[in-house]
């Protein structure tokens, strides 16, 4: 056992160094930045367009005192609904002799108003590209109504602060579980696919003979798997750290504003890391086994697509547990080793209690060992041509 661990460590150390100290690893770390940059760029453009199109301007033609009251009323509405949701008001000086003034304001390119509100506060009138049911018209009605009321008539609302059951907590937790499951899936699909080609280097460089003569094949598999896991965790630490920092900077309240999981944030984050490792080890062990059978890079590329689809299927199976963690299909997905980590992470978000996770982790670890042993044995039998072939591959003698 100690020899296996030591040998696996030698393999893992070389693979980890070869991966992390290569120039390609910098691009690997920067990988998630590209979609973020693109998203940010298009988001900014979209937001600018949305700001310009979704926040109409209404010109107020009237006295300065009327405009002040309209403006105060509008600000009260904005306080309740949000600044971006309420029409913008601009003041245009009234010329009593000019009866066609409002229409000219409407067509003036310097004002760029969607509607013009004119007349006195008692008899206001709106002209513009509006129907009676238009939200802008509704907002203008509210603004006019509020502007007409004297301030003293606004009834004060007395308030007492008290804790109440948060509405839709189970839905929020399901959302947290779903988010955790999706992150787990995407990280695994991005990272564990690399394991398909892990043994190609040794096979194409013929160094496999030197390794196979010195250490058990199991050690080679374990070493490679853990080296890539370590490299992936390094990448994730960088990405998650950057992501959390971004959320903290951008979102009000930071990461603590996200819906709280059932087991609490510290335990959930610990499970997130642990289940990622398990998910990676389980799927990685399968991919390493499949990839080890390939003899060329072309074969590995051909295998990539079915393997990705298989992962999507497993994710689909795992996602049946969201919202109903104790349903028969959710329990089946929790027992099936390849979907178990994703299901259990979602469960951690929705259901309190830790012992089920201890049992699940032990179950998953058992399967990692089983798959690795099976993979190493298959590699020895089919690639190194050692020992008798498995019975189901034996051809019947021609009689």
């Amino acid at each position: 056992m100690m020899q296996l661990v030591r040998s696996a460590y030698v393999i893992a150390r070389r693979d980890f160094a070869a991966t992390v100290l290569s120039k390609a690893f910098i691009f690997f770390l920067l990988g998630p930045l590209f979609p973020l940059l693109l998203g940010g760029l298009f988001g900014t453009i979209g937001a600018r367009v949305a700001t310009q199109t979704e926040r109409p301007t209404v010109a107020v033609v009237g006295t300065q005192s009327d405009f002040t009251r309209y403006s105060n009323a509008r600000n009260q509405l904005a306080e309740a609904m949000g600044e971006q949701q309420v029409v913008r008001l601009i003041y245009v000086t009234q010329d009593p002799a000019d009866r066609g003034h409002p229409e000219r304001v409407l067509t003036s390119s310097s004002v760029s108003a969607r509607a013009v509100l004119y007349g006195s506060l008692d008899e206001p009138h709106v002209v513009g590209n509006l129907s009676p049911n238009d939200p802008v018209a509704s907002q203008l009605r509210l603004i006019v109504k509020t502007a007409r009321e004297p301030e003293s008539r606004a009834a004060p609302l007395s308030m007492t602060r008290a804790e109440a059951a948060p509405p839709g907590l189970s839905q929020d937790r399901a959302l947290t579980g779903q988010l955790g499951q999706m992150i787990l899936f995407f990280l695994t699909i991005l990272l564990s696919g690399m394991l398909l080609s892990q043994l190609i280097e040794e096979k194409s460089n013929k160094i496999i003979e030197v390794i196979a003569a010195a250490v058990p094949i199991d050690a080679l598999f374990v070493g490679k798997l853990f080296a890539m896991l370590a490299a992936s965790v390094l990448g994730i630490v960088v990405w998650v750290g950057s992501g959390a920092l971004l959320v903290q900077l951008v979102k009000q309240g930071g990461v603590s504003a996200l819906p709280p999981p059932a087991v609490g944030w510290p335990a959930f984050l610990t499970f997130g890391v642990t289940y990622f490792a398990m998910n990676y080890l389980l799927l990685g062990a399968v991919f390493l086994t499949i990839g080890a059978q390939a003899t060329t890079v072309r074969e590995v590329q051909t295998l990539s697509m079915p393997v990705t689809f298989a992962q999507v299927l497993i994710f689909g199976f795992a996602s049946t547990s969201i919202g109903s963690p104790n349903s028969p299909e959710a329990l089946a997905a929790a027992v099936f080793p390849l979907s178990s980590p994703m299901v259990m992470l979602a469960r951690a978000a929705e259901v309190p209690g830790l012992w089920t996770h201890v049992a699940a982790l032990a179950w998953q670890l058992l399967w990692v060992v089983l798959i690795l042993r099976m993979g190493a044995r298959l590699f020895r039998t089919t690639v190194l041509k050692s020992g008798p072939r498995p019975r189901w591959w034996k051809r019947k003698p021609v009689t």
């Binding site: 030698v10 280097e201 160094i207 003979e209 030197v210 003569a213 010195a214 250490v215 050692s386």
Partner: protein
Amino acid sequence: MLRQAQHERVHEGFAVEAVDLVKEFGETRAVDGVSLAVPSGSIFGLLGPNGAGKTTTLRILLGIIDPSSGTRRVLGHERPLEAAREVGYLPEERGLYPSMHARDAIAFVGALRGLPLREGRRRADELLEEHGLGEWARRPIRNLSKGMAQTVQLLGTIIHGPRLIVLDEPFSGLDAINQARLEELIRRQAREGATIIFSTHVIAHAERLCERIAIIAQGRVAFEGSVDEARGRLRPIVRLRTRSQDGSWRSAIPAAARLHNGEWVFELPEGGPEPLLKALIDGEAGIETLAIERPGLHDAFVAIAGDAAAEAMGHQEPSE
């Protein structure tokens, strides 16, 4: 204590023993009942034509593959990987990580065999310096010539001071100078107490280096013994040139003798040189030149491997 006892037991006897090894790949029987005993501290040559089963035999002995049947014992261990720390192996198909520096590649192979990485790097620097590759120590393998890369891999094979060194076709791809260096390296390792097994189909290396050899043909051991014993399988060759063309002396020359450019060439008859000489002198053959040559290992190899192939063909015929 146990390790010491085992060490002594192995040194008293054989470093490697194999009994009736068989390896089948589907319908093909690559190794067909190979039995070997390699004395500890010796240089042992595994000779055979291409495809004879040498590499497969070595891979079985090293534990890379398991035999279909038969047993092997390496440095006292029935499971060869248990002795991996005391074994060095240079495979026929050379392999190194191209991006690794030369010293790291050597240290990595040492680390696989249990040598701490730091110590491995220190020894690698020494060995590279000793073999004239000191300035290449910190350069990637991909920048080295083929010969240099082979030397690096060979140094990786011995970095951890193994007691058993297995070299599969170590001379292939090397120029004459590097072949001579490798021969010297093998001799030095043997002087330091290591057991060396190497396979080759170039007989000259085995003739110069080996104390014992095994000739493998058609997956079987056709011969195992010393180089002299192999040569002894063939009768000495007589080359005779006479003034007389005919006479009673002709009866002393075997019927299978060939006359080539006026020179008779034939195997020395059973009775040895005296009866032949007597017959030539009494028959007034007029001896111009007479040479009795001891056959080389090459001749013995060709004869033994050829006989084995013929025998194997004979075995196959009834079933066809």
